[in-house]
Amino acid sequence: MPVPVVEFSDERLPNGLRLIVAEDHVAPVAAVHVWYNVGSKHEVPGKTGFAHLFEHVMFQGSANVGKSEHMALVQAAGGTLNGTTWLDRTNYFETMPSHHLELALWLEADRLGTLLDALSQENLDNQRDVVKNEKRWSYDNRPYGTWIHKLLGHAYPDWHPYHHPTIGSMEDLDAASLEDVRHFFETYYAPNNAVISVVGDCDHDQVRAWVDRYFGPIPANPDIPPLPDMSLPAVIGEEKRETVVDRVPLPRICFAFRAPAFGDPRLDALDLATQLLSGGKSSRLHRRLVRDERIAQDVMIGTLPAVGGASVILGYATVRPGVDPAVVESAYLEELAKLAAEAPSEDEMGRARALTEADELGALSRVEERAERLSMYATLFNDPGMVNTILARYLAVTAEQIREIAQAVFRADNRVVLTYLPTAIGAEALEGGTGDGVGPESTVDAADEAPVAADVADVAETDDEGEADA
């Protein structure tokens, strides 16, 4: 069952803007995905959360577009849109009825060309309040809401750009100034730091003409500062443990391991491993912890791909009432160790491959997903053609490669163990001393902790406006 090949063009404007176009006339729909090569990894200490706050400012108007009018115009054209910020990049996208495609291109160009014309303290203050409420809603006021931020904080050293959460801290958000916005915009929001993909019911030559017309006058920034070296040792070097006593109903044990960077084929193998471990009723962690031993309410494991030095693989198990969290931790880690000791069977591999293939078929049937992938692979790997080769890479992963990467990653000196305990039992458990791990243990009562929350939980990225629901 072959996944259809995505045919695309790939060119650059004189100002450096990379344009990728893939025509597909099946439905009268076209998607635009603009990726800027700037993410929270570009933030410096004291300015965390800024890339994402800036993303909000991008919806506050430009020379020819009023505050929030970007959304209004796209939706009134029958389109959908959003913007997201993550460690490695920021993206903005619209899916339009195809006869409104030009509008989306013009809107994207107007804010890239003239954002500062409309910038005001009032709008910045307003979006700062919105983002602080986003942080409260997504992370601080949610059970276990801080888990991914805490895991990333342990898996990456203090100096590393992935150490701090994309949502940032309240203090840093408070400190963000108009001057910061101007500087950030002038530094990173330049055509030579962007990729724009257009996929769907469109004509290549027409799209190129529109992009020349609207984006062509915007000058490049020849002085985009390079990132510092982000390379890291393959393993963390010690086990790190933290216990959080919080208003959670059931204990939950969360795990993280440092993993190969996004783009490394060994991460493909690890991705496939997550399917074997928690991808359905017959997966190893689910089967043992949830079904057979019935010690966990739920389990998961997944990778957070990142290009700078190392990714992480992280997961959790929620402990059933009455069960000792230590038992759940041992069982979870034993299943990881088994994968490191013995290659999975061909039957397991075959099922994982069949599901991966079907998922890819489904994902690539949407123009928006194709546009996103083209922009992602171009931005992160300078290779949009990965849209057509990534599946083959997954399908080529062998059972032994999975065992090898499991062995390399699932090590005691490469893991973070984060335990959430309900307030009711937390104090007692800590007095009794559950801190029997081999690594340094820190204990934090979430109530006293500075609100350094932020979670990338459900979606692994900090979303801006969700789609309107009726």
């Binding site: 929030s68 029958g78 009825p97 509008l103 409420n133 059931l250 049937s365 309900p422």
Partner: protein, 463 residues
Amino acid sequence: MSPRAGMINQRPVPGEPRPYEFPTTIRATLPNGLRVIVTPMAGRQLIAASLAIRSGAADEPAEIGGATVLAARGLTEGTEVRDAIALTEAFERLGASMHAEAGWDAISAGLDVPASRLEPALELLAEVVRRPSFPESEVERLRDERLNDLIQAKADPRRRADDAFVSSIYAPSSPYRRPAGGSPETVARLTSADLRTIHAAAYGPGTAALLVAGDVDPDAVIAMASRLFGDWTGGRAAVTGPDATSAVDARFVRVVDRPGAVQSEIRIGHPGLARRHPDYHAVSVMSMILGGLFNSRLMSNLREAKGYTYGAYAGFDLRRSAGPFSARAAVNTEVTVPSIGEFLIELERIREAPPTEAELQAARNYLVGVFPLRFETPGPVAGWLGGLFIHDLPDDEPLHYRSAIEAVTADDVLRVAREHVHPERCAIVLVGDHEKFGADLEAASIAPVDVVADEPEAPVGVA
């Protein structure tokens, strides 16, 4: 600063719209009453197939509340011929992702599968729907998982607010007062016998439709359906119009106190209207203007003007009977009371005057324009047609939807707002730190306030 040289300040005008037609659907009815609804979509190799049954949690006896949802989950826990693991592995070998769930109005079991493996996947689907075994031990596990999930729901401010809201707006006689998946009292008693009872009563061809969309040959699909479901019997439980009696006679405030919460979850509303109500299209436009579009009145006010929230929305949950109408947001604790004030202003304002022409155009154009985007892939096509079947709506609704939306006038919006939005008699449910806003709330004299303590977390150590 002057606009950058060379930038084009003229907004583009739209091109010529390319006509869009909802894909043509082929329908058949098997002799046993099963409807087969096939939508060929050329080039869509991942097929969506699902069996929709017109019977849901609203139809189950109150004393086994939660049995319908649990039975749907139990479908994939084993059949007369395979246990859960063998079943899952069989689906996986086909590259098929299987799902089964139930809601208030319907049960749905379906899968996405590559076209070349549709037939064996449908065989498995038939096995799951027709011959589930509901093993005692697996049902106990599912039941315990549901009970634990209810504990989690209590600790999550959003779910807590949703649950407190519905229990505030519906009378005790209404099933909508509780979660569709059941409350702890009834779920704790559920057994596999209850699940079998639901299966025997509700699962049958007379109230079911098989929906298939994607790159398929309709005749072949109908032949598969005949082979796999032609001798299916049973079911046909009477479908009720669930009791949706309102408990809201006047405006009142209910606070679920959560000391230390950094935000207040707000829900404001009352029972709304049923999916089959003739005002459906006008209400869709009205709720877009009030709290659906990004630039809706609620978003423009509470987010973009005031910065009180990440998002403020309003909408109707359209069910067989009157599901809830709610306006909702999570706001900074300090602005809890001012936020309620702004919500009430907007709920009044939508009833006072017709929307502007620009608002009306934006809402209609969005709903009409987004229609082809919604149906780009097979899953949403099958899903929407399944919804029409469940609510016994006309087969040609997809052909008329856009013209019905286009026909909604400003006066229609005003009329349906007056008829279906009632800020003068609504529940205002808050989950937040009462100590921080309690005095302001009293001083604001919005309505009588009743405060309930958030119950402590479930005892740990008790299974």
